[in-house]
């Protein structure tokens, strides 16, 4: 029963959202806010049930001695919440500084080992026809040229008349232009395959209306 009701509510909400196609209207706005509300609520629950309770409260309540280190995050949390109070507002910066430190480190580590290293290594491909034939060799060449030229498209300094260091301006111009082309190719490809994904979503929703709804009645 609850499933039947649920399905029909879901269908109703689905239609309310689709009503946006007729232009911005109260039904849509209503659905939208309903969604935002539930989403926030759900996130709060998760923050409590999968972080605060198991990682902070329970340990501190059950065995404070063993988890004395948690006093630090507790303190930091209080400082953070102190932001609610004008007097303590500034103190809220300490936990902020802590988070920022962690974040900066993760950003560096991630960029170095997650992007820079593997992507560089992966770009080092053989362009020797003897190995995989001309097709592969040329394709790899395209890949390499694409990567490097796109990388140079973002050149910041040394532009505007002067080349970078020894690199002549003319070469930079051509090279960066090439990079732009490759970037456009990427954009085109991404755009197109996104079209695919989004259409799947639409089809899926319509399928829900056309298939699931009647099915729920048959049950």
């Amino acid at each position: 029963m609850s499933e039947l009701i649920g399905t029909w509510i879901a269908a109703l909400l689905t239609l309310m959202v689709f009503s946006y196609l007729l232009g911005d209207n109260p039904l849509y706005r209503l659905a939208e806010h309903l969604f935002i509300g539930t989403a926030i609520g759900y996130a709060v629950l998760l923050a409590y049930y999968s972080v605060l309770r198991p990682k902070l409260f329970l340990p501190l309540l059950q065995s404070p001695a063993a988890n004395w280190t948690l006093a630090v995050p507790l303190l930091l949390s209080l400082l953070l919440l102190g932001r609610l109070n004008l007097k303590w507002h500034r103190a809220g910066i300490i936990p902020l500084a802590f988070l920022l430190g962690v974040g900066a480190a993760l950003a560096i580590g991630g960029a170095l080992f997650g992007s820079l290293l593997p992507q560089t290594v992966a770009t080092i491909q053989s362009i020797n026809p003897a190995e995989g034939g001309w097709g592969v060799a040329l394709s790899n060449l395209v890949l390499i040229v694409g990567t490097l030229s796109a990388l140079f498209y973002f050149y910041f300094t040394g532009d505007g008349g002067k080349g970078l260091g020894r690199i002549p301006a003319g070469f930079m111009k051509v090279w960066r232009g090439l990079g732009k082309w490759f970037i456009m190719v990427t954009f085109g490809a991404i755009f197109a395959s996104t079209v695919m994904a989004r259409l799947s979503l639409l089809i899926g929703r319509l399928q829900f209306l056309i298939y699931e709804l009647p099915k729920s009645l048959l049950k």
């Binding site: 926030i40 988070l99 560096i108 080092i124 050149y155 505007g160």
Partner: protein
């Protein structure tokens, strides 16, 4: 040097880790050197980036119409790998806040990640506290819309639709939810500046924003809007690292091919 290598080996550092470490360590002196050169006033030409140039136009528009300017800092936080993007967004926002406050244009800043909220508030507050004497601008409003990307996008759509936004600036980390906001901006005919580093999002930023910040360009906001020697220096370091990477790749390819 050898002793260093041994040390690394003993600490279980792989060649790749060592390589990256070296790269990191090379970066520091470079940064220091270039910073010194910049302090000494070394002239540096920066590639023009329209978005940074035109943002004032957008703010002016806000001031003229009395409508709020909306700055979206994306769905990134400051305690994860998206920190860099988020910081870029905050830097940009700080500049916009300063100018919009001075020009009396209301400012709405929206964030999605709760960790970013306090930082954004601090930045906006700073701009507000150092406002011009007797300026009648409203204090910038920093909102946490929703911690969940799609919900956040929906919230921003609501802002764009409901609050007559004069200009929409979106810089930070954006995922597939970007298009919801970007296209709404188009439909409400709101001028937009947008930037991100995720190629997947960039395709749509390209398609929906008037001025685009592609990839690393968002990190340059400091150097373009509030140039300090360190900012310029880090751009130059970035460019030289670029060359380094290129050389590594080329050498690698040659070795691999022959």
């Amino acid at each position: 040097m050898d002793s260093l290598i041994d040390l690394l080996r003993n600490s279980g550092t792989s060649e790749q880790q060592a390589l990256m470490l070296v790269l990191l360590l090379v970066t520091l002196p470079l940064l220091a050197l270039f910073t010194m050169q910049q302090r000494a006033g070394k002239p540096v030409a920066l590639r023009p980036i329209q978005a940074f140039h035109r943002v004032r136009e957008f703010i002016g528009r806000g001031a003229e119409t009395g409508r709020p300017i909306h700055v979206s800092l994306g769905t990134g936080g400051i305690a994860d790998a998206s920190t860099a993007e988020s910081l870029a967004g905050v830097t940009f926002m700080g500049h916009i806040a300063g100018q919009s406050i001075a020009s009396g244009a209301p400012l709405i800043v929206t964030v999605s990640d709760p960790t970013l909220l306090p930082l954004a508030q601090e930045t906006a507050l700073h701009a507000w506290e150092s406002r011009q004497y007797g300026c009648d601008a409203a204090e910038p409003e920093v909102r946490l819309v929703a911690p969940e990307p799609v919900a956040y996008a929906a919230g921003v759509m609501d802002t764009l639709l409901g609050e007559h936004v004069a200009a929409n600036v979106m810089v930070g980390k954006f995922g597939h939810e970007y298009l919801l906001m970007g296209e709404t901006g188009i439909r409400t005919r709101t001028p937009q500046i947008a930037g991100g580093i995720d190629p997947q999002t960039l395709a749509f930023i390209q398609a929906t924003a008037d001025e685009v910040l592609i990839g690393e360009e968002i990190f340059a906001s400091g150097a373009y809007l509030n140039p300090k020697p360190t900012h310029i220096a880090s751009l130059r370091v970035q460019d030289w690292l670029r060359v380094l990477v290129t050389v590594v790749i080329l050498v690698g390819v040659i070795l691999r091919s022959v």
